[in-house]
Structure formats: structure tokens, C-alpha cells
Amino acid sequence: MSVAISARDIRKSYGDLRAVDGVTFEVGHGEFFGILGPNGAGKTTTLEIIEGLREPDGGEVSVLGLRPWPRNPALLPRIGVQLQATSFFERLTAREQLRTFADLYRVPAKRADEMLEVVGLTSSAATRTEKLSGGQAQRLSIACALVHRPDVLFLDEPTGALDPQARRNLWDLLRAIAAEGHTIVLTTHHMDEAETLCQRVAIMDHGKILQIGAPATLVRGLAHPVRISIESGLLGQDEARAIADGATVADDGVSLTFTTTEPAPILARLADHKALTGLQVAGASLEDVFLQLTGREYRA
């Protein structure tokens, strides 16, 4: 995979605060890359440096082989940007908004109307952007970022303030966009979002990247215990202890839970006892990876 974005040792300080403190990573063409971290971790500043909105104090950035800073007119038509806020012209309808952005990129109005369809806003085309719901506004904002078919798409916390249903709706859209071959860089503070969307994630805190990799690889590297639970009352205490074979067993009256690093034999024995009603197997998640890396609770 050829490199679309490369950041090498980028730094940015605001007074004493080191917002970005030596960040290095690469994103391949067509990759869906996530920058994950709590609020204030330096995700947005990192993204803004790569987009060319801020000048880094140090380090080097290259996007599609070009330098984004100072403002690079050759690069601008090839990147699409959705900023944290929904940045719209006041008092325009959804369609007018999108057509205005299409005009800025010298793209025909027809393409703007197509994008409206893609993000499922055709029925709200005549609605003023101020009256769109949070999810609709975010989708319009993404449509504005995509209207000129950029090679690279930057999304800064696209699901920030959305309800769970709107978030899942947006994930479907983002997957479809990724499938089209765009390179996508997304920042988020939702672990599940990074886990389900991104091919690789960089976990950031205090301006530094703590770890980079595919979400599954990061989780597997954790050697974290797995929790297996079935309905309470399916097995007697002695039976349960025999099956556990040394693993921790707990029964809270609702679920019988085994906690182990070797789930396979326990699952096999449960199957032998035909005691699989209500079976749940919970492995570690990115959240556990974050906890492990920072040694503290995740502050979203």
C-alpha cells in the first residue's frame, strides 16, 4: 500500500501546553485510519496540522506527496475536510449549502444533488441547515466535504454529539465511503467507533501516540481475560467448579460467569453439559487497551 499521509515527529505547543508532542505515523492509500483518545489528547491539533490549518512547531507532514503548510492550493482540491463544528453558511437550505460548496470546488450542481441523495437528505433538501437534526447536519457536513471527490477525507469527531441510532446510521455511510476507495482519517473519542470502522488506530494521550495498530491486534496483544457467562441455575456449584478447572467462577443470581485466559476448554465443557443458554463471551476491548496503556479510567 503506497503512503497517502506521512507525519514525522510533529510538535505543537500553546504556551506551556504541549498539545502535540512528537507524533509520527503513516496512512496508506485507501486506508481507514483512526486517531483515538480522550478530549484534550491532541487529536484535533494533530489533524489540523495535517490538513494545513496550523503550522507545526517542528516535524514534517506530507499529504499525497505535498506539503499542507503554508496553504497549498494544489492540495486543497484533493482533500475533503469536515471540521468539528458544522460549519455552514447561515440561513441556506441543505441543497443550497451543498451547491455553494460544489461551486467553490467548481463541481457541477448535479453532483451536489447526487451527494444529497448519497447521504440520504433528498427529502430535507429544502430545509434550512439550522433546522436539521444533529445527525442530518453531520451527514450534510460530510457531503460538503465529499462533493468534489477528494482522495483524502478528514473527519473530526463526526459522531460527537449524536444519539446512538444516528451514530450507527453515520457509520454505515462512512463504511460506504471507505468502500469507494477514499483514504479516511477520523478522530474520535468513542472506542467502539474506532474498533468497528478503522483498519488501524493510533491511541493518543497528552499529545503523544501510545500505540498504533489494527484494533484486533491491539486487543489481542493485551492477553486480557475473557468473561464467559451463561444463565444462572443451569449448573450446580460443584459442576461449575469442575468445569472452571481453576478459573474464577461467580454467580450473581442472574448469570454464572467464568473469568479465564483459556476460554476454549471451558466452552467445550459447557457444550458437553448442554449448558449454553444465554451464552455471552466478552473479550477485551479497545477500552481495556487504553486502560492498560494509560493506567487510568477513560475520560470521554
Binding site: Y14, F88, R91, Y105, R106, V118
Partner: protein, 377 residues
């Protein structure tokens, strides 16, 4: 939502691929259109920049319509031969005085006290007694001087000698300069000033707050296009406003008579709009919120309207206001328009005002660019 709904991938769509060279006229046009739509759909902005000044014109135009010289009302108690003879001798006097009659002194005095009339006069032999109130000092002064004039004329006539000195008076200002002729450029100047300054300041702060400025910075459209679009919209609004004002003021009811080179007011309006856009640009670059921007613009434009000849015509203003007005751009906008619209001066008379307005705009724009920020950090 499924992948199949997505349009063709970029490789098959060269016709829609953006071009990055040359002036982005399409971008300029669409920015202008977006700003114009944003303006006409903002009822508050529409009211305060267009309708509010027009209402002021209607109100003040009607109020001052008949205010050439206020007449004084006098009540004669009994017979006052001095006054009657004076009125018979000079028709001029009836342009200043309205005379009514009564027989009761008590009634007449009461009328004066209640300010229903300005003076009560009675004659006792050779004495003319004038009862007046100093509730209104100006009227009291007029009453005193009118009657002392009448008495002196009567004395002069009684002496049967020709007067040694004669007074000839002549109004120095343009004889046709009626209130509507300074109200129209004055209020229009104020409307253009606040429209330009608010337009630029609120757009700049609003777009910075919702990060649209940063979004535009990452679009292939230059700062020049953004600024030119804002100027175009503001100038268009100001010109529309000028024609609305002229249309109202030239109706027979208000009776504004445009002089030969009135059309020179349009370049003056354009220069004035640029000057006040530059004020708005500077305020917008400094202010952190739209509320702050509104307050600062009000703080600049409103006093300027009083001191710069918009609300108080400079011809009637105290000397210190006239001196201060030379430092205010609004003066040049108002006086520049007045000279060509109402005074009948030649087209060249507007040039110095235009030059000063443009110079002001240039200086402030340079300062604004220096303090300008794309975002809030």
C-alpha cells in the same frame, strides 16, 4: 444505506473533477449568492439595515416638513392700536404672528401660563404691555424682539422723519434647502454606515465562530474572493437603499428635488460603503462574539451619526460638533451626498469626500488584516 447507492468512483468522472487554476469566478459568485441569501432571509438584519432607516426618514420627514419658521401666537386683550397699525402697515408681520382677540385679561394670562398662546398684549395709553412666559426661552426671545421692533417702528412713524438706518436681511443658506434635503442624505448616510459596519463585522465573527472561515480556508477559494463577495453584497444593498430613500423623498408629500448631478451620489455611496465595511472588518477581526461585535459597532456608528451630520445637520450644529465631524468618515459620506443631491454642486465636488472615504477604508483595511485571525485560538 448501501454501497450501491454511491455514485461512480472518481476515476470515471473526469468531468466533475475540480480545477485549481485561475480566478475562481464560480466560487466568487456562489459566495456572493450565499451571503445575499443569508442577508435577505435574516429578518432582523433586513429590518435594521433597510426598514428602520426608512421609518426614520418617514417620521422625521413628516415632523420637519412644516418647520420653516415657527409662528408665534398672540392674544390681544381689548384693542391694541399699535399692533393693529403695524399689521396694517406690513403684511410681513402676519407671517410671524397669529393674532386672536379676547376681552378678559385673566383669561388671556391663563392661556399664556398654560402655553396655549405665546404672549398676551394689552395697551394702556402710550404703553404696550406684553405678558409672556419664559417656559420656552426661544419663543420668549422672539416675542420680546418682535414687540420691541413694533414699538420702535411706531415711534419712528410718530416722529414723521425718514429712518436714518434701514435693515435689509437675506438668508444665506440655499433658499431651497428644506429639511428633506438634509434629512435624506443624513439618514441615508447613517443607514449605509450601520449596514456596512454590521454586515462585515457580523459575517466575520459568525463565520469564525462556526469555523466556516477555516473551512473556506481549506477550499480552493482565495481570501480575495471572500472579501470581494462581501463588498459586492454590501454595495448592492447600499445602492438599493439609496434608491428606496430617493424614491420616498422625491414623492410630492416630502418634496425632495434632486439636483442635476444627483447620480454622483452613487459613487459616494460606494466609497462610503467601503469605508464602513473596513470599520466592520476591523471590529470583526477584534471581537470574540457577535454580541460584542454588535455592541462595538453601535458604540462607533451611533455617536458618529450624531456628530457626523447624520442626525443633526452640520449647518445647525454647535461649532464643536462641526470641528469633530472633520475626523469622522460619516461626515464625508453625508456632505458628499448632500452636495450633489440637494445643493446642486457639480460632479467634481464629491471627489474630495470620495478620496477621503477611500483613504480611510484603505488604512483601516490594512490594520484589520494585521489583527485578523482565522480561528479563535
Amino acid at each position: 444505506m448501501t454501497t450501491s447507492k454511491l455514485p461512480a468512483p472518481p476515476a470515471q468522472a473526469e468531468d466533475v473533477s475540480p480545477r485549481s487554476r485561475g480566478t475562481n469566478w464560480q466560487g466568487f459568485r456562489s459566495l456572493s449568492r450565499a451571503m445575499f441569501r443569508g442577508f435577505v432571509r435574516d429578518r432582523a438584519a433586513l429590518f435594521f439595515t433597510i426598514l428602520f432607516p426608512v421609518l426614520f426618514l418617514l417620521l422625521f420627514g413628516s415632523l420637519y416638513k412644516s418647520s420653516s419658521t415657527p409662528k408665534i401666537n398672540v392674544v390681544e386683550v381689548g384693542r391694541v392700536s399699535v399692533l393693529d397699525q403695524a399689521r396694517a402697515a406690513s403684511r410681513q408681520l402676519d407671517k410671524v404672528l397669529t393674532v386672536t382677540h379676547t376681552t378678559s385679561l385673566a383669561h388671556a394670562l391663563n392661556e399664556v401660563r398654560q402655553a396655549n398662546v405665546d404672549a398676551a398684549v394689552q395697551q394702556q395709553g402710550g404703553s404696550l404691555i406684553v405678558h409672556y412666559s419664559i417656559a420656552n426661552p426661544t419663543t420668549a426671545g422672539v416675542v420680546n424682539s418682535v414687540f420691541s421692533g413694533i414699538v420702535q417702528a411706531a415711534n419712528q412713524a410718530a416722529s414723521h422723519k425718514p429712518p436714518a438706518y434701514q435693515l435689509a436681511t437675506q438668508q444665506v443658506e440655499d433658499k431651497s434647502l428644506k429639511p428633506i434635503q438634509y434629512l435624506t442624505p443624513g439618514l441615508l448616510g447613517w443607514a449605509i454606515a450601520s449596514g456596512g459596519a454590521f454586515g462585515a463585522a457580523l459575517t466575520l465573527v459568525g463565520w469564525r465562530k462556526n469555523k466556516l472561515l477555516r473551512r473556506l480556508r481549506l477550499a480552493p477559494v482565495g481570501t480575495t474572493s471572500i472579501v470581494t463577495a462581501r463588498i459586492t453584497v454590501s454595495v448592492a444593498v447600499a445602492i438599493v437603499e439609496t434608491f428606496v430613500f430617493i424614491a420616498i423623498a422625491t414623492t410630492p408629500y416630502f418634496g425632495l428635488k434632486l439636483t442635476a448631478y444627483w447620480w454622483m451620489a452613487i459613487p459616494v455611496v460606494i466609497c462610503g460603503t467601503l469605508a464602513f465595511l473596513s470599520i466592520g472588518l476591523l471590529v470583526g477581526a477584534l471581537a470574540k462574539s457577535q454580541e460584542a461585535a454588535t455592541a462595538i459597532v453601535n458604540l462607533i456608528v451611533l455617536p458618529m451619526a450624531f456628530l457626523g451630520g447624520a442626525f443633526i445637520p452640520l449647518a445647525f450644529a454647535p461649532q464643536w460638533i462641526v470641528k469633530v465631524s472633520y475626523f469622522l468618515p460619516l461626515r464625508y459620506l453625508v456632505v458628499g451626498m448632500q452636495n450633489v443631491m440637494a445643493r446642486g454642486d457639480g460632479p467634481a465636488s464629491a471627489l474630495p469626500a470620495m478620496g477621503i472615504l477611500l483613504g480611510f477604508a484603505a488604512v483601516l483595511t490594512v490594520i484589520a488584516i494585521r489583527v485578523f485571525r482565522w480561528d479563535e485560538i
